[in-house]
Symmetry: C2
Subunit: 376 residues, 2 copies
Amino acid sequence: MVGGGQLARMTQPAAVALGVRLKVLAATAEESAAQVVNDPVIADEKALADLRAFAAGCDVLTFDHEHVPPFALEALEADGVLVRPGSVALLHAQDKGVMRSRLTSLGIPCPRWTIVASPADVAPFAASVGGDVVLKTTRGGYDGKGVWLVPAGTPESSETVAEPFRAGVPVLAEERVDYARELSAVVARSPHGQAVAYPVVESVQRDGICVEVVAPAPGLSSELAVEAQRLALAVASSLDVVGVLAVELFETVDGRLLVNELAMRPHNSGHWSIDGAVTSQFENHLRAVLDLPLGSPVARAPYTVMVNLLGGDLPDVYPAYRHVMARDPELKVHWYGKGVRPGRKVGHVTAYGSDLAELRERAWHAADYIRGDIDE
Amino acid sequence: MVGGGQLARMTQPAAVALGVRLKVLAATAEESAAQVVNDPVIADEKALADLRAFAAGCDVLTFDHEHVPPFALEALEADGVLVRPGSVALLHAQDKGVMRSRLTSLGIPCPRWTIVASPADVAPFAASVGGDVVLKTTRGGYDGKGVWLVPAGTPESSETVAEPFRAGVPVLAEERVDYARELSAVVARSPHGQAVAYPVVESVQRDGICVEVVAPAPGLSSELAVEAQRLALAVASSLDVVGVLAVELFETVDGRLLVNELAMRPHNSGHWSIDGAVTSQFENHLRAVLDLPLGSPVARAPYTVMVNLLGGDLPDVYPAYRHVMARDPELKVHWYGKGVRPGRKVGHVTAYGSDLAELRERAWHAADYIRGDIDE
C-alpha cells in the first residue's frame, strides 16, 4: 500500500486476520501506518524509482490516497506491476474534470458542470445555472481544500474567483446543489467483477471535513438506497475499479441523487464498517485487490454511528482518551497514532445499537471531550 | 509482548485501534507476530540480558505464553520494569503444583491432587481416588504435551507412569474427572482492580488441543455460569492477576465445577471474542496491562462458534483458503501466518448468529476443508 496514513493503518488489522503481509510505503517512519507494519519503506511516493523499488517487493500495489502521479502508475503497469485500482480507473478519482466528463457520458447524474478556462468564464456559467457556483481545482484537493463557493453575482475580479486558477491546473465549475443531505455508497469490486455494496450511509460535513457518518442513512427510502447502490456498482464496473470505491452523493431536496465525488480506496464514510459490518471496507479492499472472494458487507446492528475525532487545543489528550473509555465501555475507540493539532483527524469512535439518538450522543460526547469542548 | 506467536499477532489489531505501539520479542523474524509489528526484536525470551534490553524500550512488559523463567521475571521487577501479570501471579500459570496448592488454600474447587515424588507414589494415590489418574509435569506442558492418563491398576513399572518423571520437574497427580464437558471462564483485570468477565464458554478438546469453542456454553444454567465467572474473578483478585486470566473448568456429570488449568494471557477459549464480543480479549488484555479502563465483554450475537484450523496433509492450502471465503462470505477467517504442518494450529474461523447447529456446520466445514478432510 502506497501511503502511510490512517487508511493504511486501518488496513493492517484486516491484513493480520487474512494472513496477508501488508507492506507500506510511507513518507516518514512516524506516519500513522508506518508505526504498525513490519519494515515500512520510507520513500517518496511521487518518485518513480522509489515506487519501482517498493513494488518489486509486492504481489500487488494499492493506495491509501490519490496522490501518486498518473505517469508513475502507467510506468509501473508497463513494468508489469499489478496496480489496483489501475491507472485508468484511478484517474477518475485524481482528476475531477475527467470524472465529470466520464460520469456524464455514462448517464450518471451529476450537478451541472463545466471546465472554466479563466475567471471570465465563471459568470456566464453562473448565469446558465441561475445560482451559486462551486469552483474546484480538478487535481490535488481533499478535505475541503481546493474548493471555493462563489455566490451568484460575484464579480470576476474577486479573489474567490481568481484564486482557484492560480494552482495552474484546470478548474471545474459546478452548480451549487440545494441538497437535503449528503450520502455515500461504498462498494468493493474484485478483478473478475465480483462486487458487494455496503448499506448507503448519511455523511455529515463541517468545513469540508467529514465529521459524522450514520449507517444506514436514517429514513432513506429503499428505492433511493438501491438506486445509490446500483449507481455505485455501475460506476465501479464501467470504470473497471478494483478495490473499494466510495461514491459521495447529494440527496437533493426534491429527492434526486447527484454524484459529488469519487474515491477509489477505503473512505471515511466506510470507517463504521470496522465495528458495524460483517466485513470491514479495509478487509474487502484487501480481498478485492488480492482477487480473493469478497466478504459480506451486511450491517451487524440496526444503526452504527461513526464520529471523527478532531484535534483541539488540549495540550495533552491522554486524560481525555482515558475518560472516553471509562465513560462508555461499549464505545469503540480508534486512534491513529498521530500528533494532535487543531482540526486534524486523529481518530474516530463508533457506537452501534438500535437507539440512534443515544448512539449519536455517545459518539459525539467522545469527540467533543477529545477536542476539549466539554469537560464532564 | 514477549513471544511472537499467534496471541501476540492477534494483539496487534487491538493495539492499532488503541493507538498503542506494540513491540514484540520473537525468536525468529518469521514468527507469527513478528510479521505484523514494527521492528520486532529477535532475541532469546529465556535470556535475562535479552529481556532487559527489550524491556528498556517498553512502558510495560506482558506475554503471549508462560515460558519466561520466573527468575528472569523477578530480576526484571527488581530492575523496576512493570511486568504484567507480575512474577508472583504468573507462577500460578507456570507451575501446576503451585497453582493447585494455592487454589486449594483459597477454597477453589479442584480435582483431588497430590505431588508424586516417584512412580511408586502413583498407585497409592490412584487407590485413594478410586479410579484413573492423570499425571502432569508441573512445568513446561501445553496443548496436551506433558500430560499422561494412567488407567486404574497400571503397574508402576509401566512406561506411562515412568515417563513423566524423566523431565526432572515435580510431577502432579490428579484424579481423572468424570466430566460432562469443559468450560472456560475468561476475565480481565486491571492494576487497580477493575475487572470484567466474558460469557462462560464451552470448549471442546481433541488429543489435548482445543478444537472448538461455543460462546456462551449452550444450556449452561445461569447459576453455574455466574459461579464460574465469580470463581474466575476471585482467582484473578486473589492472585493479583493483571491482564487476561482464563480459567479452564470441568463441568462434572453431577453439575459441579472444578478448575482444570489457569492461563494468564489471551487464551484460545477467548478467540471468539474478536468477532463475537464488544471488546476482544486481546483489547482488554492491552487495556488491563496499560491500566486503561476496560471495555465491555458482552457478546454481540446469541451464539458465536470458533473452530481452530489445524494443518493437514494438503501440500498447498491456498485453494482451500479461497474456497472457505467463497463458500461463506459471513465467516470470519483468521490466519496466523504460520507454515502448515499436520495438527498445527494455523488459524481459526468464527461464525456468529442465532442458529447454533448452522453456525457449527459452517465453522467446521471450513476447518475440515482446510485440513483436507473434505473436498466440496
